[in-house]
Symmetry: C2
Subunit: 435 residues, 2 copies
């Protein structure tokens, strides 16, 4: 933080007016019936089909702008995240319909009781209000976020990356039409496509208009939001996930789980980054595992950054390098892993306590006692016994999608689904009770 | 915020070591059995009786330091908050025993189900970790906060006002002895009595050591914490609470509720500040209400800051002044209120939406429909029908005390009790499931 960044420019008047409209819409949404909310989502899904060509044309403009950058562009992985096609549009529509089919979280009575003085109280699930989502360049995030925020009765402010500006503008128009068709105030969705970066800082200062901010992107974005947001943040931080193989593990199962957690989709936050192996099984497990994920049968072998004991168990094997000081704090998001031998369960838990990001952690063991200790003592959003860390996502867990994976401890841990976009109020009915 | 305040001094080495001890203690507390947690709280309650004289002697030192300031001191209300006596020590001990008697929140299974792939999942309530409470000068807050944080399995860092430094130091020693007697790591309670104000800023930057911060004090403290904290904040902001009297209200009940909400303890955040009256009942309600709370029978009459219609209903009455532009945004915390006539329920809700602080709001009405609309549309932590707003506190609602009243929407709204000091993790048991 420096002196310059401490100066927050005011929001332009037009944006202030739209934020006021978002607040007014949030108030209207609190009492919008669930049938209308579901109808809007189905309507948006239908428009995605009908207007798919127009959306893809705008997407082509974004892709062309990216491609025009040539070598100074952000690379093929980035381009792939930007890209929409008929299949991806289809999945977006399917997502809208899935969220529309979920139970309505609004109005759920979480607890009801009567106090000794006769006061009847209910704790009632209610919308959060106005949610700001700041995301990078995957345009499908806009639709998924809208579906969840709207189904939970919230107004949503979307601030996407400039690289997908044309695509998101088309999606905002389409969603706006779906809202208008059901006479929902258009403040329910405020899509900001103005590329001025100062706007983000000004939005983060406006805790009168915005109740919660959710940043979704790389470490630079997260850091910026944590530094500057005045409203509460639902933080989706990095996933430095571990698999620990205990001395009594079914080793074939361990090989499958590590393979899946590391290689099935290495670029996502719930992929494994570090392997911890109990000393007693290192010599048996490691060669078989290396054969599976780094052997000649693999077109794309996994690179190992391994401590001395791991390397000793893999003499002469390719793709194995010494771990450095920073290896165990590295989120590769790639076909690479760190590996270390540990003397016992406690050392594994210690390692995770020191290096983990509190996202998803796994123990492979046949012992109920070891699993119980690991599950109790490891401080992470999701703790697995004998299953891949890859299940940490809103669809896998039946939440109908997610706004991200929370690695903080307040409000929500793990996938941020529909319920996490609500809060619980106290509602009282009395007969004149006083203290 | 200015450039100078952007420079965060590093924490002194000794404090860094104690924060590391707090983190280690938090890990040990995750698996500390509830019987030991309860025993520590009972032990502390016993020590409060046995060592009460020593605590009161230290409190006398704080009071003497305050009194020595004479006219430049912070006044009698402040002195009263600083003061401990045998009765207050007794209530602190009673509070410890009440929290010890509560159900253990740690380990509670909030949800359990099996996914289609056979993966069994449980959502399990778990401690937050290390909580930082920053409070002003009421020393009993230290004991209440410790009881709740510890019972929920958390380590607690306490940073109190310098005016109660001797008293809190004595209480920290006493609580530390109770922990030591049951072999709980002393990092479970870190009481900071060093008066250096820069420490607070450095603590707020240390989101590696501290999971959550709870500020408890005036607007200046809250603003400082919201501005500088890198970790999530549970915000206990001001209470600008309204009572709205609808056109069909039982007027005798309305008088009782307004009297209680305004005068029973005006200095607390759940007291009423603004009265809204439906036009149809203004002429009947207001004279009777004025007689009750501002009439000659009252030794300490309530002052009114009233709009023209209210004043018209109270011709010639004493203690009635015109409301100014700022009246309806004023938290008096005193025997004063703002009053306004509104044409209907919608106008009352609009007023609360614009001026309320999302704390506690009340409607007095005989109509289920009006109550339902008010309870659905008013966006506050606690919404009452026909009962005083004074019930918004942890003891009244059976939470065994509270760390404050949250007016934000994330994590917890209303009284911050035992459950709000936990988070919910996902725990999975599989048989080798992969994606």
């Amino acid at each position: 933080m420096d002196a310059e960044s401490a100066v927050v420019s005011p929001l332009p008047g037009a944006l202030q007016a739209r934020l006021a409209a978002a607040r007014a819409a949030a108030r209207a949404l609190r009492r919008l019936d669930v049938a209308t909310r579901r109808a809007v989502l189905h309507d948006a899904a239908r428009r995605l089909v009908e207007q798919g060509g127009a959306v893809l044309a705008e997407n082509a403009a974004d892709l062309a702008a990216h491609d025009a950058l040539g070598e100074s562009g952000r690379g093929p992985a980035f381009r792939d995240r930007l890209l929409l096609d008929a299949a991806r549009l289809g999945r977006m529509g399917e997502g809208l319909r899935q969220v529309a089919a979920m139970d309505d979280p609004v109005g759920e009575v979480v607890e009801a009781r009567t106090l000794a003085n006769g006061l009847r109280l209910r704790r009632v699930r209610s919308p959060l209000g106005v949610i700001l989502l700041i995301f990078e360049s995957r345009p499908d995030v806009a639709v998924e976020a809208f579906s969840l925020a709207f189904m939970a009765g919230n107004a949503l402010v979307l601030r996407g990356g400039r690289e997908s500006m044309h695509t998101t503008a088309a999606l905002y128009r389409l969603l706006g039409e779906a809202l208008a068709a059901h006479r929902v105030p258009d403040g329910a969705l405020l899509g900001i496509t103005d590329p001025d970066r100062g706007l983000t800082r000004a939005l983060l200062a406006d805790d009168r208009s915005i109740d919660v901010v959710v940043p979704r992107g790389g470490p630079g974005l997260i850091e910026f939001v944590v530094e500057h947001a005045r409203m509460p943040v639902i933080k989706n931080d990095r996933g430095l996930c571990h698999v620990y193989v205990h001395d009594d593990a079914d080793l074939a199962m361990a090989v499958s789980i590590v393979d899946n957690a590391k290689t099935q989709r290495p670029g996502v936050c719930n992929a494994m980054e570090t392997l911890l192996v109990h000393r007693a099984v290192a010599a048996r497990l490691l060669p078989a595992l290396h054969e599976r994920i780094s052997g000649p049968a693999r077109a794309a072998p996994v690179r190992w950054f391994a401590d001395g004991e791991v390397r000793a168990a893999l003499p002469g094997r390719p793709h194995v390098e010494p771990a450095t000081e920073g290896s165990f704090d590295t989120e590769y998001l790639d076909l690479a892993l760190s590996a270390r031998v540990v003397p016992d369960l406690s050392a594994a838990i210690d390692h995770i306590e020191r290096h983990g990001s509190r996202h998803s952690e796994c123990i492979v063991t046949a012992s109920d006692e070891a699993a119980r200790r690991f599950q109790e003592e490891v401080d992470a959003a999701c703790v697995y016994r004998n299953a891949s860390t890859r299940f940490t996502d809103g669809f896998s867990l039946g939440l109908g999608g997610e706004l991200g994976i929370s690695t903080q401890k307040l409000h929500v841990r793990g996938p941020v689904g529909l319920q996490a976009l609500t809060s619980v109020r106290w509602v009282f009915d009395g007969d004149g009770q006083c203290r």
